[in-house]
Amino acid sequence: MENEKTETRIEKKEKFNFEKFHDKYYKLIFLIPIVLLLISFVYVIQVYSSTGDFIYRDVSLSGGTTITLKGDIDQAKLELGLKDKFPGTSFTKLTDLTTRRLIALIIESSATSEQLKPEIEKILGYTLNEDNSSIEFTGSSLSENFYKQLIIALIISFILMSIVIFLLFRTFIPSLAVIFAVFADIIMPLALIDYFGMRVSAAGIAAFLMLVGYSVDTDILLTTRVLKTSEGSLNHRIYRSFKTGILMTATALTAVLPAFFLITALPDSFRQIFLILGLGLLADILNTWVTNVGIIKWYCEKKGIK
């Protein structure tokens, strides 16, 4: 009995300590995501200045051909054979993680399918037909056009989201905090994807649009609980939102992550959507519970909201 009591006391003390710690240092903690965001931002800008673009586009956005060869294909042989004629050709293996079976080999090149197909047929020694391969070709003028439109769509999507947030809360700083957090949710995964050198497809950009809507709900939860209710202290309300919100993000992540660790033999468009949503959700944990919390706590302190 004695022991149990002391233990609970210690626990309470620790919690109390964290609260105090947070009260005292949250503005400092706030610097972590800001610094990360700045690094991400600078990195994306640097990619932009060296390549003229924010992302590395795949052939669906830059023009070219994707050939998916079904079955266990000798990648080295193809790589060797295509290296000279089609520089910059990339290869991706599609493996079923559970069976370790190579399901397909994806070849991406900026060449047209008429140029690429005969060469591959020559190396493999058989003709490509609809039983053994898929061929996707996108003309460069179209892909350029698509890319521009998708970027415009992303900007429109962001603006529409911002309007909804302002209409919802009708207060300037808290709304801005939400919008800022969503902005960070986009920039951070973008920098990571650039860092990995991943080529983004049209579906990938669509995923960024979805991220705008997908990552905002925890911010709305936080802002609503903090501003629209008065039960408990400010810290209590933030803590309660955190408990709910982190579970939300965790379940959303469980919906998104199996596509990477368990079932991997999926269409590329599909995987990219899930990867970007996954990275965005991870960034969202930081941006909601540090960035957004930081701003709103500071705002409440200034306004005397308790």
């Binding site: 998916t68 079923d96 397909a104 399918s113 609809e130 039983d131 391969s133 898929s134 996707e136 070709f137 996108t138 003028s141 179209l142 056009n145 698509f146 521009k148 439109q149 415009i152 769509a153 429109i156 999507s157 529409l160 989201m161 309007i163 909804v164 947030i165 919802l168 049209a202 579906a203 669509a206 649009l209 979805m210 705008v212 809507g213 997908y214 905002v216 709900d217 709305i220 939860l221 609503t224 629209k228 309660r240 408990k243 709910t244 579970l247 939300m248 379940t251 959303a252 469980t254 919906a255 998104v256 199996p258 079932i263 033999a265 999926l266 269409p267 468009s269 599909f270 959507i273 949503l277």
Partner: protein, 506 residues
């Protein structure tokens, strides 16, 4: 337990979704006719694509194997033999020495349709080179292309206009399943149109032999007359085409040597008809009126007719025939070149593999979320109701997709699975609000939960909306399923779920 109105709405929605998806179709036996060769015995007897064959000569046909075994055992035969084909609602008797000229496939397991990236097939996006097509030009191009694809016997083809955010007009062609090798040729080049009398070419499309075809001008094109006949009605149409000097000269020379025939109706025609060829395939034959013999004329009247059960039907039939003929005549004379800006040919077998994996993934996600929630709440009732709601949401979304005939491609399904994630999020908000220890009543707390849910709902709609237009709607499916999913959530499943939680929490 009393079932509230909102829960009833959910139950009705689930029933309607089951109707739309029709999963029991998997139990249906038979084979589906996917195409019937034009002018074949099977065609004449009235077999049509879409019918389901359940028996042949008294033998039940349960699947493709049954069908091919039976047909291969019977044909080819040396003499004409009788074949009785029983479809779901009719019976057809054919006499032929050859196998019925039809292609069949297994019956789809449900009414859910998958996109080309999962079912296999070809998809092309075509635009005019260095020119912006007007809507009228685009609709001509689409008619011409559909016509040509039809003459190639390609069934299950969808040719539609597409507009993108910057106002570009495209023609989109989607062909399901296996596609001919020369598809690229077929769609990128203009159709070759030739009109011949016997073996001699009278005029060629695109060679400026036909200077114009009168189409939307009532003074030179239209339905001339409609009459009632013994077994229905009969309408005749007429329109004028204008030939170049050279073509008119050729016409005079070729027809000068022809003899005249008299038909049963007493009208006089030349002995040889004017044959119209599209890509070297005969598509129509027109009788040439005797008074045109040897005349050098730049203005030719084309006549034809349509029939139907009543005047209205006959009128419609005649109008359709006229349009079809006009389109054939302008084929090859498009004043612009075509450019394939996107061409995807997807292997059906690869798509099948992907689809299988996506379904497994969906089930897996479902299972993992259930486990996570059970670990968190430790209450079987709450977990079950969340799982049921999540399932209902995905299922109703599928039902709506099936109902509006939407082809679910990979991004669309990604939208549904991602939607399962947000759906659960909202339920977590409801549960957490309902258990919060506060002086507010449960009603008030649920109301606050809905403020958060509605906010999230409107932001996701706002975020996905631009995808409907960007990139010629290539990613429309993703936006569509996401928006349907969250809307189903907000309108149907979540209110019901909130009621169920109220019950559970007392």
């Amino acid at each position: 337990m009393k079932i509230s109105f909102r829960v009833w709405v959910l139950i009705v929605a689930l029933l309607l979704a089951s109707l739309a998806v029709s999963p029991w179709k998997a139990l249906e036996k038979g084979v589906l006719i996917t195409s019937v060769e034009a002018n074949s015995t099977a065609f004449e007897q009235g077999l049509k694509s879409g019918q389901i064959i359940i028996a042949i000569d008294g033998n039940p046909i349960n699947n493709i194997d049954d069908f091919s075994k039976l047909i291969q055992g019977k044909f080819p035969s040396t003499e004409k033999i009788k074949t009785t084909i029983i479809t779901k609602d009719n019976e057809f008797v054919l006499f032929s020495s050859n196998a019925p000229e039809i292609t069949v496939s297994s019956i789809p397991k449900s009414k859910i349709k998958t996109g080309l990236d999962l079912s296999g097939g070809s998809k092309a996006l075509i635009k005019a080179k260095d020119k912006q097509l007007t809507s009228a030009e685009l609709s001509d191009l689409i008619s011409i292309t559909s016509n040509r694809l039809n003459t190639y016997g390609i069934s299950d083809v969808k040719v539609v206009p597409v507009k993108d955010l910057s106002g570009n007009n495209y023609m989109s062609i989607e062909i399901a399943g296996a596609t001919p090798k020369d598809l690229e040729d077929l769609i990128s080049k203009q159709g070759k149109f030739e009109a011949k009398i016997g073996n001699e070419t009278l005029f060629i499309g695109g060679e400026r032999d036909i200077t114009s075809v009168c189409r939307n001008d009532a003074t030179c094109a239209g339905i001339k007359s409609c009459d009632e006949t013994q077994d229905g009605a009969y309408c005749s149409f007429t329109f004028v085409i204008y030939l170049s000097e050279q073509a008119a000269q050729r016409h005079a020379e070729i027809t000068a040597d022809l003899l005249s025939n008299v038909t049963s109706g007493g009208k006089k025609y030349l002995s040889k008809p004017l044959d119209l060829y599209l890509d070297d395939i005969l598509v129509d034959s027109l009788l040439i009126s005797e008074d045109l013999k040897g005349r050098k004329t730049t203005e030719i009247q084309i006549q034809g007719s349509g029939t139907g059960a009543d005047k209205q039907e006959a009128y419609k039939d005649a109008t359709n025939s006229m349009h079809k003929l006009q389109i054939i005549l302008i084929t090859g004379s498009l004043p612009y070149k075509l450019e394939i800006v996107k061409l995807d040919t997807i292997s059906p077998s690869l798509g099948k593999e992907f689809l299988r994996n996506i379904i497994i993934l969906g089930l897996l996600v479902f299972a993992i979320i259930s486990i996570v929630l059970f670990m968190k709440y430790r209450k079987i009732k709450i977990t079950l109701s969340v799982i049921m709601t999540m399932f209902s949401e995905a299922f109703i979304t599928l039902g709506i997709a099936a109902f509006i005939n939407w082809n679910l491609d990979a991004p669309s399904i990604a939208g549904i699975i991602a939607g399962m994630g947000t759906g659960v999020n909202d339920q977590i908000v409801i549960i957490d609000e309902s258990v919060s220890n506060t002086n507010l009543g449960i009603k008030e707390r649920i109301k606050r939960a809905f403020f958060i849910i509605l906010g999230a709902f409107f932001t996701i709609i706002a975020a996905m909306l631009p995808l409907f237009w960007a990139g010629a709607g290539m990613l429309k499916g993703f936006a569509l399923t996401t928006i349907i999913g969250v809307s189903v959530g907000i309108l149907i499943t979540r209110p019901a779920f909130a009621d169920i939680i109220k019950k559970i929490q007392g």
